[in-house]
């Protein structure tokens, strides 16, 4: 009987280890967002190309991808060719230029090609803050009603797209019809 009492720590540990092993299979980059299944927060920001043009949440009716990027973010550069490919396939991508310099951002798009149908210029990170941006790059899937349906943290790689994200995109695109 004493054996059982002294075996309790072992038992507890085994249970914990099982959870940890299972936890390893989950990808910590699938962060939840308080905003998922909610409307895009209200905002009013200029576009990158023209300071005089203001964009609001009304302009973000999908289906579209809202891609948070910046010139200071090396991973965004990794992601960029994929975005170019997606936009040529007809995926509508809106850029959210996050805490960046206008001139540098424009030069960047000049150099690496512009996959965005429009770029919102969020120099102070206000919209980023409201969205709960964790770090660039991040990509939000927004449906026809302007509701955020999914959030992807990190680079949208071709593997990610094929395995998970394209299905989400297709379901959004079909909803519209």
């Amino acid at each position: 009987m004493k054996w059982i009492r002294f075996g309790v720590p072992l038992l507890l540990f085994v249970v914990m280890a099982a959870f940890l092993a299972k936890g390893l299979e989950n990808d910590p980059r699938h962060l939840p967002s308080a905003r998922v299944d909610q409307k895009v927060p209200e905002f009013s920001l200029p576009t990158l190309n023209d300071e005089a043009v203001l964009v609001t949440q009304q302009n973000l009716k999908g289906p579209l991808l809202l891609n948070v990027w910046a010139t200071w973010c090396p991973s965004c550069r990794v992601e960029h060719p994929m975005l170019n490919a997606l936009s040529s396939q007809g995926v509508r991508i809106v850029g959210l230029n996050y805490k960046d310099e206008r001139a540098e951002a424009l030069a960047y798009l000049e150099k690496y090609h512009n996959p965005y149908s429009m770029v919102i210029f969020d120099q102070d990170g206000d919209l980023g803050l409201d969205l709960g941006v964790y770090g660039a790059p991040e990509t939000y899937f927004i449906d026809a009603n302007g509701v955020i349906r999914h959030r992807h943290v990190g680079v949208v790689s071709d593997v990610e797209w094929e395995q998970n994200l394209s299905a989400i995109w297709r379901s959004l695109a079909e909803e519209k019809i």
Partner: protein, 659 residues
């Protein structure tokens, strides 16, 4: 060539560790003295080879050898030399190398300072340490080789060290923390060796105590440094975030604190044996768990710089073997341990048991808060993140309870205490604590909340009773107080100092957490803003070149009643290579308050977002940590650990063998 030597040195160290694990343990089982004799020289040579490996990696950094993948990923020709050297542990592979080096260093220290230990005990301890080392070396060699080459194509220049890590705090913080983490492997090895030999008595506890206290001191300083670093480097003015990585270092600290107290009881009274052994296993397990959490990518954290499931599985498997194995051994052997004395009712044993329960409770609170997000995730529930509110709400009561006990504990006698004689001093102490605390709170002009009041009351309570006890014990010598002071043992003085350190930290935490002022303002050159009695005048921003960055340096002058008290120069640094921006806060530190200014974003038209913080008593948070560590050092140097107790131990061993 040099990196290959380093790589080779790790492999040799691993082979030695395998020998060190097998022969002495087998020798101890078979009572073969020659096999057991292998342990000591093996420990020494293992350490030498690890030093060689470490120096090789440092050399590769110093000479900008970008053919080494790890160097290319974490250094750059522009990086100042001090940071090139500290970059050795700036990434996953290197910090693991540091881990392994630290482990071999502790093993070396045990081998050197083991004159008092019976050979069989030493053989078992070093054997267990060898086993742990084998796990870490194979982790290094198979999944995280720091000497991997990028040949034939290698970069002309490196990717630079993460700017967050280019800082003095980060040069010293990880080695300190690792000294603490890994140091608990020694008491773990003692516990396993004790369980293997079926012998966990007072003598055993006395050997294990100084090692435990030593690692605890390192860990205390390491945690304090980490908190200080986060405070001045991250630019948010925060000093503790309940981040998983911070928790990973805090959990072994909590259970290590419990272990120190439980070891004291086992040493003095020969009771709590199995509990002490369990705590020793738990403490080291939590250190390993911390490594797992940080390295496996199972949790996201601001600190996590490597996340790789393959490594995660390796560590988890290793964790499973070490912890599972030792707990199995515990389940089999612990029931046979015998208690050597009795205690009853109100006694110091009971108080220390209560202290242990509280500390373990605190550990569990942190553990749950850290792991619940994973559990939820695995069970397919939503991803949740447990934040500071959970920890703060749970921690307040535990800390108040602990301090309350801390005041009483040292006054009680071992075995049994007639409580009647203590009631009067306790009532007096309690009343005066309340009064003094209220006066202090009033003088500081602090806003009162229940928890602030309670925390300050128990803090005064502890100081009052500890000093009372100190005075009483000092007053027993007929030759006067000074003689009485000298007669008190260093371990008692160390305890008093460490307890005072806790009080200092708790007071600091309570005040800064509830009374700090944060102000985000938009400022142009010439603007000023007022926080309390301080007036902050913004003088504008200049561009200043640095060695591997360009800085925007703001200047803020601080006045009190029109006279200048501080000139602060917060910076916004843009690092060229990684192209990211860092906020360097400017801090005017003081005994009772810090003034903290950080530059936010430029807002156009020449104005800047400026963050101004007033942090009362923040230095106390870390100062208390240093005081605690000093108390630990004092206790470690007690002469009873240095006495030749060999004879008595040997006779005890003899008696044990006959029984």
């Amino acid at each position: 060539m040099i990196p290959e030597i380093g790589h080779f040195a790790i492999i040799i160290a691993m082979v030695i560790a395998i020998v060190q694990a097998i022969l002495p343990l087998a020798g101890a089982a078979k009572r073969n003295t020659r096999w057991m004799g292998v342990a000591k020289p093996a420990a020494v040579t293992q350490f030498i080879f690890m030093c060689v490996a470490f120096i090789c990696l440092a050399y590769s950094f110093a000479t900008n050898d970008f053919t080494v993948k790890y160097v290319a990923g974490h250094s750059n020709t522009y990086l100042p030399m001090a940071f090139k050297l500290s970059a050795v542990w700036g990434g996953h592979e290197g910090s693991l190398l540091l881990w392994a080096l630290t482990l071999s260093g502790w093993t070396f220290a045990v081998a050197l300072r083991s004159q008092q230990l019976p050979q069989i005990m030493l053989a078992r301890v070093l054997g267990v340490l060898g086993l742990v080392a084998v796990g870490f070396y194979s982790f290094l060699i198979y999944t995280s080789n720091p000497f991997e080459r990028l040949l034939p194509q290698f970069p002309v220049d490196g990717a630079d060290l993460n700017p967050l890590l280019q800082d003095f705090g980060l040069i010293v913080h990880p080695p300190m923390l690792y000294m603490g983490y890994v140091g608990f492997s020694v008491v773990f090895a003692f516990a396993v060796a004790g369980l293997l030999g079926g012998r966990l008595d007072s003598a055993w506890a006395r050997w294990a105590r100084p090692w435990t206290v030593a690692s605890w001191c390192f860990l205390t300083v390491g945690i304090a440094l980490g908190s200080w670093w986060a405070y001045y480097e991250l630019g948010w003015g925060g000093w503790w975030f309940w981040d998983p990585v911070e928790n990973a270092s805090f959990m072994p600290w909590l259970s290590g604190t419990a272990l120190i107290h439980s070891l004291a009881v086992t040493d003095k009274r020969g009771v709590f044996k199995s509990w002490t052994a369990l705590l020793a296993i738990l403490t080291f397990s939590l250190s390993l768990l911390g490594t797992f959490l940080v390295r496996s990518g199972v949790l996201t954290s601001v600190h996590a710089f490597a996340s790789d499931p393959e490594r995660g599985f390796f560590i988890l498997a290793f964790l499973f073997l070490v912890i599972g194995g030792s707990l199995l051994l515990f389940a089999i052997r612990a029931p046979r341990l015998q208690t050597e004395s009795q205690y009853s009712g109100v006694s110091r044993e009971v108080l220390l048991l209560a202290n242990n329960v509280m500390l373990v409770l605190a550990t569990v609170i942190v553990l749950m808060g850290t792991l619940f997000p994973i559990f939820f995730d695995v069970l397919g529930l939503e991803k949740i993140s447990i934040g500071a509110p959970y920890f703060n709400a749970m921690f307040g009561p535990v800390v108040v309870g602990l301090l309350f006990l801390m005041g009483i504990g040292p006054l009680l006698n071992w075995k049994r205490h007639k409580i009647g004689r203590l009631i009067r001093p306790f009532i007096i102490a309690f009343m005066s604590s309340v009064i003094i605390a209220m006066i202090a709170l009033n003088l500081l002009g602090m806003s009162l909340s229940l928890w602030v009041c309670l925390a300050v009351i128990v803090a005064v309570w502890v100081v009052w009773l500890t000093l009372l006890d100190f005075y009483r014990k000092m007053n027993t010598a007929r030759q006067g107080l000074w003689a009485g002071f000298n007669r008190l043992s260093r371990s008692y003085k160390g305890m008093v100092v460490a307890h005072m350190g806790i009080v200092v930290t708790v007071v600091g935490v309570t005040i800064v957490a509830t009374q700090d002022v944060e102000k985000d303002v938009r400022m142009r050159a010439g603007d000023s803003t007022v926080v309390g009695e301080y007036e902050f005048r913004f003088r504008g921003v200049q561009e200043i070149p640095g060695p591997n960055f360009t800085a925007q340096r703001g200047q803020v002058d601080v006045y009190v009643d029109g006279s200048l008290v501080a000139q602060l120069t917060p910076e916004k640094r843009r690092y060229w290579v990684q192209r990211n921006t860092m906020t360097e806060a400017a801090i005017d530190a003081g005994f009772s308050r810090d003034l903290y200014v950080a530059l936010g974003e430029p807002l156009g038209d020449g104005s800047w977002a400026v963050r101004i913080y007033f942090k009362p008593f923040i230095r106390w948070v870390w100062g208390g940590g240093l005081i605690m560590a000093f108390g630990g050092v004092l206790a470690m140097s007690d002469r009873r650990y240095r006495l030749k107790v060999k004879k008595r131990l040997l006779s005890g061993l003899h008696a044990g063998a006959q029984a």
